[in-house]
């Protein structure tokens, strides 16, 4: 390590960096060194202080939070803790920043060309600017340059927007690129492309890269050195391969064991095999399209283009695809939040549109949904008990108060939440706890089929792992049938026996999860499998 240090230039040298909110310290002394041409990872869960560290280096801390100690040396120049003009100029010239969600980091009312122009150093002439912008877009791998320049951010995909953001970050020839969860908001295959791009730029331009992520798989694939951060401290650092092969700190081991690809699979419940003969849900030639208002007037967007699918009792099927593949639309139709244009949905042999009132009520109880976002799926005004009471009162009329209360306790036990959480409001719960409440709400109706739409994608990896284990246990205990939607094949491999790959509203491949993942027949499935981060773990 020392040999490397003497030979290459150090772009960023952070020593004993301390950050605090008023009198409360948040980050307690962090040391990071990023050499030119190398990629350094900063990994930790939400709340570990990794983003604040990155923001402090970039001089973008929120006003209430200040640097309370330590030094930041950027390209040989030490920065003062208070941002004077000189420091700011030096930062602007040396650092490029790429944020998590590309679309909000672009101005929605400005064309891409104008935003890129703004990012160039002041006083760049018109002609020079045009040439430089074209060069930058070429550099980040955008092929249709004229069209992109003319577009507004909302007309481009997330992946393209992230490329534009990277181009903006590169506009002033920075020496250091700070990427804070640059791909968390993107589809898996796009993720891989964006990270490939960052890698190639690092090599070509000799950039130092500070990659901040909660995903240890991405860190494993993409960085030379890693710092593991927990509760405002760096608990372990070193060459990535060494740290991940033989982690010394318990927290690092915990992070590693939480990666979906490392979760030990539970054997599917024995009953599942024998019950697998009875179809519970049958979809035949399901079609749905939306009209979208775009630049060329109203256009039709086909979300589902003839989907046939059978779900047997006790089976767990993973539905995989990228955003826009129609997987969420499919789930919403099955659960009755959306109507299909044509085709039929049969539950227990009965077509949805031909149910009697009583059958409909039964179906409503049998089929439940777990939402993706645990933050918006709970009414902020209701306590946990009130949220859980709703399905109990609506679906099991005539329960006494005491009985309702007893069932709420039982549900909380089942999702492993303390019973006194019943009085809490969503704002007093963490993301994982909220998702547990969401799961308990789904279970309250005593369902047989549970549809889960990306139930863990908004959560930290270790929380993800716990929720996945919970879902696996519930399946075994309650003989549940799962339709599990995810963009993450590793998650699907953990939980599902079978997998269905959806693309542009059509099923391109289906089969046993292990078979499909081991030798995918469709090229699209192949790209999805290749894009799973953590291949080098």
């Amino acid at each position: 390590m020392t040999v490397v240090a003497t030979r290459t230039e150090t772009v960023l040298d952070v020593r004993d960096l301390r950050i605090g909110l008023a009198d409360t310290p948040i980050v307690h002394g962090v040391d990071i060194r990023v050499p030119a041409g190398k990629s350094v990872g900063l990994v930790g869960e939400s709340g570990s202080g990794k983003t604040l560290t990155a923001l402090a280096i970039a001089g973008l801390l929120p006003p209430a939070i200040t640097i309370t100690g330590g030094t930041v040396t950027l390209a040989g120049k030490q920065l003062s803790a208070v941002a004077d003009r000189h420091t700011t100029e030096h930062r602007v010239a040396t650092i490029g920043v790429v944020f998590q969600n590309p679309t909000p980091s672009l101005n929605p009312r400005m064309r891409i060309s104008k935003q890129l122009h703004e990012a160039l150093p002041q006083g760049t002439g018109r002609r020079e600017a045009a040439a430089r912008i074209a060069e930058l877009l070429g550099l980040v791998g955008i092929t249709d340059i004229p069209k992109t320049l003319h577009a507004f951010p909302h007309e481009l995909s997330g992946g393209l927007n992230q490329r534009v953001v990277i181009a903006m970050a590169l506009a002033r020839d920075p020496k250091l690129l700070i990427a804070d969860e640059p791909t968390t908001a993107l589809d898996v295959s796009v993720q891989a492309q964006v990270l490939d791009l960052v890698d190639s730029l690092r090599e070509r331009l000799g950039l130092g890269v500070l990659l901040v992520s909660h995903d240890i798989g991405i860190i494993a694939d993409r960085t030379d050195e890693v710092h593991v951060m927990s509760e405002g401290r760096i608990v372990e650092s070193g060459p990535t391969a060494d740290v991940l092969r033989a982690p010394r700190h318990a927290y690092t081991r915990q992070l590693l064991s939480a990666t979906p690809s490392r979760l030990a699979r539970v054997a599917p419940p024995a009953k599942a095999a024998e019950a697998a003969q009875t179809p519970q849900l049958t979809l035949r030639d399901l079609r749905r399209s939306f009209s979208v208002r775009g630049r060329e007037g109203r256009t039709k967007h086909v979300a589902l283009d003839g989907v046939d699918l059978t779900l047997h009792r006790g089976q767990a099927i993973g539905l995989v695809g990228e955003s826009g593949s129609g997987k969420t639309t499919l789930a919403r139709i099955v659960v009755g939040l959306e109507r299909a244009d044509s085709g039929e949905v049969r539950h227990d042999g009965l077509e949805l549109s031909k149910q009697t009132r009583e059958q409909r009520r039964q179906w409503r109880r049998d089929v439940q949904y777990i939402f993706q976002d645990p933050y918006s799926s709970l009414d902020p005004r209701l306590s946990v008990a009130q949220t859980l009471r709703e399905p109990l009162e609506l679906n099991h009329r005539g329960l006494s108060r005491a009985e309702v209360s007893r069932r709420i306790d039982a549900l909380l036990d089942e999702v492993e939440l303390p019973r006194d959480f019943r009085h809490r409001h969503p704002s007093e719960l963490s993301g994982g706890q909220r998702q547990r409440v969401g799961i308990a709400r789904a279970l309250a109706s005593e369902p047989t089929l549970v549809i889960a739409d990306e139930p863990v994608s908004a959560l930290d990896l270790s929380v993800q792992a716990r929720i996945l284990r919970l879902l696996a246990r519930l399946r075994a205990e309650r003989d549940l049938t799962y339709l599990f939607i995810s963009h993450d094949l590793a998650v699907v491999r953990y939980l599902c026996d079978d997998v269905v790959v959806l693309r542009d509203g059509r099923i391109v491949e289906q089969g046993r999860t292990d078979d499909v993942l081991r030798n995918p027949r469709d090229p699209y499935t192949q790209t999805l499998v290749d894009a799973i981060p953590g291949g080098s773990l």
Partner: protein, 282 residues
């Protein structure tokens, strides 16, 4: 971070407290009127048109009636009518707004167009037309006041309800088996209640002003029953010789309506962080 935590610690402010104070005094006085004052119709022909004095703090009118008594009793009529109309206007506005948000489609379109029509017709003109046809008794007056003021509640509640209905927790409630009524009762109404309180005070203030205008125009409650607007009109003839006859009932209208506005602004600040009328669909 939810709105609840963001707004914690916000109060209705000094203005709001002043408004609440004014209203408490006005309401207490009018409710207790029969016990704290005499008969508003009692005439004393020996003390016509007396200026305010210790015996008659607001002076007397051209029939020798005590103006303080009449002003307090006038408030009974004005406030009963205003509050009643504000309640009905809130209920009407709330129902139409919730129906629009829950059913969408043509229900929403029709209620929205109704509101547009209402906004296009000046309510005072509508009131004059209606009252000159059906006569000016209690019922019709309340009717025209409701017609004139439900739109405010409707627009405020509809904007908010439409935003709430899009929330995922409302979908979650649908999956849990909730019908429209259950969604309205469990999720929509609790979330619009603060806005409704704000809209109610503003509605009441608006109804009070409109009711007084009608009284002034002779379309309100008929003499000898005292009413603020009508008393202002009666005092107008002597505005130069006995200004107090018109001044005190006029002041009562201004002060009460100011109290309502201040309280409304205070509540808006407390619950929504800004004037309620400026909130759009967010």
């Amino acid at each position: 971070m939810t709105t609840a935590t963001l707004h914690k610690g916000r109060t209705i402010g000094i203005g709001g407290w002043i408004g609440a104070g004014i209203l408490t005094v006005v309401v207490a006085a009018t409710v207790l009127a029969p016990w704290i004052t005499g008969d508003p119709l009692e005439q004393h022909l020996e003390i016509l048109l007396q200026a305010p004095s210790a015996a008659h703090p607001f002076g007397t009118d051209d029939l020798g009636r005590d103006l303080l008594t009449r002003t307090i009793h006038g408030g009974r009529t004005a406030l009963t009518i205003s509050v009643m109309s504000a309640v009905l206007a809130s209920v009407l506005g709330l129902s139409l707004a919730l129906a629009g948000a829950l059913f969408g489609g043509w229900v929403d379109a029709i209620s929205g167009r109704l509101a547009d029509v209402q906004l296009a017709v000046p309510s005072i003109v509508l009131a004059i037309v209606v009252l000159s046809f059906v006569g000016n008794s209690f019922g019709p007056i309340v009717l025209v006041l409701v017609l004139g003021s439900w739109v405010l509640t409707f627009r405020v509640v509809r904007g908010h309800a439409r935003a709430v209905i899009e929330q995922q927790y409302v979908e979650a409630a649908r999956v849990a088996g909730a019908g429209r009524a259950a969604i309205a009762w469990r999720h929509l109404i609790p979330s619009v209640l603060p806005l409704l309180a704000v809209a109610f005070t503003l509605n009441a203030s608006y109804a009070l002003l409109l009711e007084s205008s009608l009284g002034y125009l002779g379309l309100g409650v008929q003499p000898p029953q005292p009413d603020w607007g009508q008393m202002v009109a009666a005092g107008q003839a002597q505005i130069f010789t006995a200004p107090w006859i018109a001044f005190f009932p006029g002041l009562a209208v201004v002060v009460t309506s100011l109290g309502l506005q201040l309280l409304g602004d205070g509540l808006a600040e407390r619950f929504t962080g800004g004037p309620v009328t400026r909130r759009g669909t967010k």
